[in-house]
Symmetry: C2
Subunit: 211 residues, 2 copies
Amino acid sequence: MNFSSKYLERAVEEISNLPGIGKKTALRLALHLLRKERGEVASLSESLLALKEKVNECSQCGNLSDHSICEICANPARNEELICVVEDVRDVMAIENTGQYRGLYHVLGGVISPMEGIGPAELNIASLVSRVDQKPPHEIIFGLGTTMEGETTTFYLYKKLAGFDIRLSAIARGIAVGDQLEYADEVTLARSITNRVPYESSLSHDQNSKA
Amino acid sequence: MNFSSKYLERAVEEISNLPGIGKKTALRLALHLLRKERGEVASLSESLLALKEKVNECSQCGNLSDHSICEICANPARNEELICVVEDVRDVMAIENTGQYRGLYHVLGGVISPMEGIGPAELNIASLVSRVDQKPPHEIIFGLGTTMEGETTTFYLYKKLAGFDIRLSAIARGIAVGDQLEYADEVTLARSITNRVPYESSLSHDQNSKA
């Protein structure tokens, strides 16, 4: 591209470094910002810097927080006997949005993926083991995705934690609520039959059934 | 969404104000920035602010520039007798990329669109008329898009400029280079026949045929 302004060129370059944003989209965004008030652009600019400077990982669970211990870990009303292991902070947000879980979390920061060069050492696995060692909970729920990498990571964690006297469980796989059986894939359908549950516990959750 | 950090929430809010970026994409971008070095985030943040503070419109043609007069207007090698009117700085960039145009530009900053509340007063039309009045060029090329709004704007400009002793032309519409006739729409095909050109001038451009 043939830029008439080096500041525009630099901004387009920086914006297009973001994942999934090409040069044309970056140019469109830069021209949009140029039409905005200075205050609005300054607000965006500051929020990005504050994000990097003020947000850190909770020293206990790895969730993102503005403090050294996140709000969930610091909340005395949460059930310390229950830890749900998830891949990402987005999973914490998704589970929190359900309003059905009152335990704590452990955020791995990814899943084991030899293809991308991510081994157990790159993830918050050692911190999970030492956390469990210091104060064993009653139960650990594996809440990782059903991808090849997710399943591998769950199995790795299972092996690491099997020596502790802790109940180890995995979130249920099955037909999504609202889905038709005929459109479900075979593996999911098979699992939903193998892991069938008593009818009473399949009824919709109320406040009393919170984990 | 249920954010565990107010700085993360604010950054996602700010990023999702950008056009075409929803909350989920904004969160993905914010988490990407969190994984980057502080210097990289600072560089992006500064480039956005510099964009707003250092880039302005050329006082003659409306193109974006780091100076009060843009590089194209300031270049004595450009043909001052030729002004191409375009909608947007992206059109300037596209024409400059062809390397086939040596005249000047006038950037309207949009097209007349009553639906979006954009009338002639919102565009750089008065500045075009006074520019032409002060120093009439030999020719003005209308280089606006073929949308309803583009055609309306071109007609409006034509009415405004018809009183001057200036040649008024429009960029050629026709079958794109590399396209098959059978796939062209009827209007384009009809125009390409009506506005046919002598065979010699349809041959591929060389350096001598530059405008």
